[in-house]
Amino acid sequence: MKYAFFPGCSLESTARPFDLSTRAVCRALGISLEDIPEWVCCGSTPAHASSDSLAIALPALNLQKAQAAGLPVMVACASCYARLRTANHRIVGAPEDRLRAERITGRPYDGDIEVRHVLDVLVNELGPDRIRATVRRPLAGLRVACYYGCLLTRPPEIVAFDDPEHPSGMDELMAAAGAETVDWPFKTECCGASLSMTNSEIVCRLTHRILSMARESGADCLAVACPLCQVNLDLRQADAGKAHGPFRPMPVLYVTQLLGLSLGLSPEALGIGALTVSPRTLLAKCGAVAPAGAGGIA
């Protein structure tokens, strides 16, 4: 199994743990990743909210680079994933959009490069059964609330690998890793996304609401698959507590970090130490990492 990997800007900065853990997990599971050479930013929300042309052309430019490598694309960031899929959808569906993308990038592209999210590849390509067979240190006793956020499941005609209102792929993956997943109603609620930059008070309200519900539903931690969700839900917990009432901090981990621990990978290789709310005590309890004082993660 081989993919052209599109890391995206976040994975080089605030989502470095997602980058580390995605690469480590793929390596351990025999999925080979080759970075798209000289990839550029997908444009994210600022592009689609400012220029329709830019919103198609920047993703198209990256997909053309993948086409040259002759490989399907794998993306980790949910936002990049949605932008690349949207561009393909429009280029395939509307000839005028295809022509516009070609005029802007100066190269032909017919939208036929497949774009998959890492979660989609793990659940639907590799499958929970094969993953279960590879698990060496099951996350026994860990109660995980799987948080899918917005762009992995919406809009379904564009992303389409799970149910838009009741997704289950991440839950299957965490169950295969030996964790117990909780049934909870906020799997696809929005964290506020890039409002973190412009209206952080809204992100604090949403963070407080989501984490309180996860706690109420019996979860010990949250599993996420989007850089913006992770940062908003992890970094803003102290501010959220100040604004909306105190609550017990809850570790927010990338699904690939939790999966990696169950595969027996080291916490360092998965960037476990680079989270704001430390999951160390929690993970030590279920035997996924060495307990405090025994060395290991910060």
């Binding site: 080089e12 042309s53 052309a57 920047l58 509307a94 929005c190």
Partner: protein, 199 residues
């Protein structure tokens, strides 16, 4: 629909009839977003599921209605169009398959094109700073982008407390990481501007 913490202004405005004013807003929004706003029958499903509803001056379904009515100044100067987080819940749930999040994008683009005085310019300045960084480096250089944004909104201090931690965790870098294809990226920006300028 009754809501606690109703912003008030939106609903009050909605009860006052807006006379037909020859506005071509509906047409323009439909052309720019490629979606049929006129199919909206005010079921309010978009508004009930909107995570940002409590902070909005007009709820998404009210924005749809105002677009129908050609209430240009109300829509284009609303806070709502900049508060939309593009979570796509409305687009996903609309029974008439209206791409409501796409309409919000179209309205933001129109508001900038027409140089509307914005009640809060933070959204616009963030997008400008972000795309400026991409144009310069091919990828987002977060430190540079944040600095440019904070200078533009004249708020240097918010979230500065988080920087040392992010630096220590290796999540912010002091220097930009450039894509090797920077000339091509600049060309894409230039040609996109040309395309957007076409009638």
């Amino acid at each position: 629909m009754t809501r606690e913490n109703s912003p008030g202004k939106g609903e009050e405005e909605m009860t006052r009839p807006i006379p037909w004013n020859g506005s071509r807003l509906l047409e323009e929004v439909q052309r720019c977003s490629g979606t049929l706003v006129s199919a909206c029958f005010q079921c309010h499903k978009c508004s009930s599921g909107c995570p940002i509803g409590p902070e909005m001056d007009f709820l998404p379904s009210q924005i749809m209605r105002l677009v129908h009515l050609g209430a240009e100044s109300e829509v284009l100067a609303s806070r709502s169009i900049w508060l939309c987080a593009s979570c796509e819940a409305c687009t996903t749930r609309c029974p008439m398959a209206i791409d409501i999040a796409g309409v919000m994008d179209a309205l933001r683009i129109l508001a900038i094109e027409r140089r509307i005085h914005l009640p809060d310019a933070r959204g616009k300045q963030f997008h400008r700073s972000f795309l400026g960084s991409v144009r310069r480096h091919g990828r987002v250089y977060e430190m540079g982008m944040m600095a440019a944004y904070k200078l533009r909104i004249r708020d240097l201090l918010s979230d500065v407390d988080k920087v040392p931690q992010l630096l220590a965790q290796g999540k912010l870098s002091l220097l930009p990481d450039r894509s090797g294809d920077i000339r091509q990226v600049r060309e894409v920006f230039r040609r996109s501007e040309e395309e957007d300028g076409k009638p």
